[in-house]
Symmetry: C2
Subunit: 206 residues, 2 copies
């Protein structure tokens, strides 16, 4: 029982790295079981088929993603009571965290699953959609909180601003990978941060 979980986790670890590096289709089961030190029967004991592996992979990835966001932004809110300052600090912390990844961001499984790889079944698409909606709720809440304290220089929708966070991260990952410049992603986040700061900065009185 305990052992089962452990093997499953190891399988998922190996699979996640391979999928992010080469894509889902290019990752063979034979390859995964070889590296995990398991047999094919063992694999199919844990996962009904490859699609279920994808599902488990995605769910675990999203969970971990949420955990990281929770940590960073709760940390930021500890450091500042002001919602705007806390958000800006969170972006900064996130950017720094991304800068410290030596080989750049390994890639987002949500993007992997939705941008590519077979017509994944409805279930996975729905998980993906829920993930994007969670991001929207998370950051949307922050922006609404900020808007209660600051008057934006331009009228912008809180949900659209929230989506912009996800957009910059997902797009930054793509551009960073295409350019082979790991620094691009954290840089893009900081540019976005500047935009947000500018948006809510009180207009200077002459």
């Amino acid at each position: 029982m305990r052992k089962g979980e452990e093997t499953r986790t190891r399988l998922l670890d190996v699979a996640e790295a391979a999928v992010l590096a080469k894509g889902f289709g290019a990752t063979s089961i034979d390859e995964l079981i070889a590296e995990t030190g398991i047999t094919k029967s063992g694999f199919f004991y844990h996962f009904r088929d490859k699609n279920e592996l994808a599902k488990a992979l995605l769910e675990r990835y999203i969970e971990n993603d949420e955990r990281i966001y929770d940590e960073i932004f709760s940390r930021a809110h500890e450091l500042s009571d002001d919602p705007l300052q806390a958000f800006l600090l969170g972006l900064k912390l996130l950017s720094e965290l991304l800068s410290d990844l030596p080989n750049g961001h390994p890639g987002c499984l949500v993007a992997t699953m939705c941008t590519q790889e077979r017509a994944f079944d409805r279930e996975i698409q729905e998980i993906n959609r829920q993930a994007a909606l969670m991001w929207r709720r998370r950051f949307g809440g922050m922006f609404r909180d900020i808007m209660r304290h600051y008057r934006p220089r331009e009228a912008l929708d809180a949900d659209q601003l929230a989506d912009m966070v996800s957009t910059v991260i997902e797009g930054g990952i793509v551009i960073s990978k295409a350019l082979k410049e790991p620094k691009s992603l954290p840089d893009q986040l900081l540019v976005f941060r500047t935009f947000v700061r500018m948006l809510f900065q009180p207009i200077a009185q002459a």
Copy 2:
């Protein structure tokens, strides 16, 4: 000669739609030749292997992409001599163009190739990188032009701003697909447009 080109083009058309819909790995050669009305031998007459198909697909996609940007922004520069206004107009035109796609943006092959799908060979990765660099040059030039006429409210690097255009587009495509909301992508572009306008807006004198 003429006939060969025509068949090749038809193959690429079919392949592009399939790849953007299901991913490269999930698109089988058998499927492509069935829809094109050609035999397997015929396919391998045009392309040495699947990787060469990917290369041709990508090159054609990027060419077309550049053509669209050329059209939109040359159009915008006809309508306004001011570099800032022309750029803002271009973003607006682009956003409208994206809004008019009934099923949303079909996906970007650059993202498809770099985010996923097998360890594509160096050649394809290099094509991808060049595409991203072209985008940077294109938009970077526009931002530098703008900066000669307008003083930005915050000091931001022109190349990073240029990358932000690509980032928002690529990220917007991902988020739009994940959310299954085609409108997200054009909306995100407009939010970015607002940021750019705000960045270069002269500070109002009280």
